[in-house]
């Protein structure tokens, strides 16, 4: 027991153990990479949704002193996101890249209230947290690849920002579920309106026109969506709990991935779905992915790991720690 743990109240110790735990940052690195790719995909969506700012027309800024900018300025701000999203994905200057993206996207988002969408707001929060992280590029990045040739030390980093993103994802799920706990939503009325009817295109040619018409009538009827609406709310309530519990986490991840893929393809919300699925990797225990890498590297590449990953299964420090701890547990 450390000195701090001995003197701190139990709540403080638990708080510190949760927020300031350390571990292998591979999950965080993979999340950063996938989130960077999501941001690359989001640029054109964001540009399309804020075209009014580019084309002119009614303007509704949060502050009256924010005036509409020239067209080229808006286009430049959208275009500038590409290199920085790419750098963030590769883990090159991740804090600078995340901070710059936060500034660019933040300006475009807050320049006008008509720009509000939940998805970019979520991305802004993630960018803010990545900007605060000193370890976003420690693993699964170009600099990490370079360091592997120069250093024998495996990376171990504080998980504070990773934990904050996990909690943020959980908060989004909980509030999204609470908003949907209305008779109107659970009666299928909202889903009947928001599901993209162009989905039926995939059935063209595969079924008769009579069947197609029957399916169209069915999906326009709110009663058809009662079960999916309940499933949505139950999943959004269950996921922020289940993703934290190791025993049921794999099942939660599978259900969550299925849930977000369904949203992606029925509501054509691809990027947000991808970002949410990407965040699941953060819920894995920090040693899970390094252990899998250790286990699969010989099978994939025919060679054992050049050096043990710290926190992984072959980490000698970890093995020796376990060996040392065994007698004290039994005593």
């Amino acid at each position: 027991m450390t000195e701090a743990a001995a003197t701190d109240p139990q709540g403080v110790t638990r708080w510190n153990r949760f927020w300031h735990a350390s571990g292998h940052p591979l999950s965080f690195g993979i999340f950063r990479f996938l989130f960077g790719l999501s941001l690359l995909a989001e640029v054109e969506t964001s540009r399309a949704k804020s075209l009014f700012a580019i084309e002119g027309g009614f303007h509704f800024p949060y502050l009256s002193l924010i005036k509409p900018a020239p067209d080229f300025f808006y286009h430049a701000m959208h275009n500038l996101q590409y290199p920085f999203a790419g750098l963030l994905a590769l883990g090159i200057f991740p804090r600078l890249s995340a901070g710059t993206l936060l500034g660019l996207q933040g300006y475009l988002f807050f320049a006008d209230r008509l720009n509000f969408r939940n998805h970019p707001y979520f991305f802004l929060l993630l960018l803010l947290l990545l900007t605060l992280s000193r370890h976003a590029g420690t693993s699964f990045s170009i600099p990490a690849l370079w360091r592997r040739h120069r250093s024998q030390d495996g990376p171990i980093a504080p998980l504070t920002i990773q934990r904050m993103i996990q909690v943020q994802v959980s908060i989004v799920y909980v509030f999204a579920a609470l908003h949907k706990m209305t008779a109107w939503y659970l009666g299928g009325n909202v889903l009947a309106e928001v599901i993209d009817p162009s989905l039926l295109k995939i059935l063209h040619g595969a079924v008769s026109s009579g069947t197609l018409e029957a399916v169209r009538l069915a999906i326009e009827n709110p009663r058809f969506w009662i079960a999916p609406a309940w499933i949505t709310v139950l999943l959004e309530l269950a996921l922020p709990v289940a993703l934290w519990i190791p025993r049921i986490r794999p099942a939660a991840m599978l259900f969550g991935i299925g849930f977000h893929l369904t949203i992606a393809f029925t509501m054509t919300i691809y990027v947000f779905s991808a970002a949410m699925i990407s965040s699941y990797v953060l819920f894995l225990e920090p040693e899970t992915l390094p252990r899998l890498v250790d286990r699969w590297r010989p099978r994939l590449f025919g060679t054992p790991p050049s050096r043990p990953l710290q926190g992984g299964a072959n980490d000698p420090a970890k093995r020796s720690r376990k060996t040392r701890q065994k007698p004290s547990r039994s005593s």
Partner: protein, 140 residues
């Protein structure tokens, strides 16, 4: 290892904001908040019926198509038909119509409903929204 003294207050502050701020989405009127910053994601429907007309001195009525002023059609209209946005939009529309020398009085109707509930009018019947207090938009 203990973190620097400011880290825990920062974490706690972030969490308090992220937990408390969205709660206003359950308290405040949807007509005023739009559900912004509350993670209200595809949880409700918001429908509006609006009509804008110019009435000239002879009493001739001409409909005004507002879509060109919004430039992005219906989704933006859904964003615009809220109590806080409408006065700003009406001010903009009045200025645009004056620039075009449209003349006459601008009248408007706009009624919205959340989740197909009872429609509520957002505009007070003033005869000319360009001269009306708050550009004809009903107070809260």
């Amino acid at each position: 290892m203990r973190p620097p003294w400011f880290v825990n207050p920062l974490i706690a502050g972030y969490l308090v904001i992220q937990v408390l701020y969205p709660i206003r989405g359950f308290i405040a009127d949807r007509f005023d908040t739009w559900g912004r910053f509350t993670w209200n994601m595809y949880a409700s429907t918001y429908k509006c019926r609006a009509r804008y007309q110019v009435v000239d001195d002879a009493g001739t009525i001409r409909p005004v198509d507002i879509r060109p002023y919004l430039t992005r059609g219906t989704s933006l209209a859904a964003n615009t038909y809220h109590r806080d946005a409408l006065p700003v939009f009406h001010k903009f529309l009045c200025a645009e119509l004056a620039l075009a020398n449209t003349g006459g009085r601008l009248t408007a109707r706009c009624a919205c409903s959340v989740n197909d509930g009872q429609a509520r009018s957002l505009i007070v019947d003033t005869g000319d929204i360009c001269r009306a207090p708050n550009y004809g938009v009903a107070a809260q």
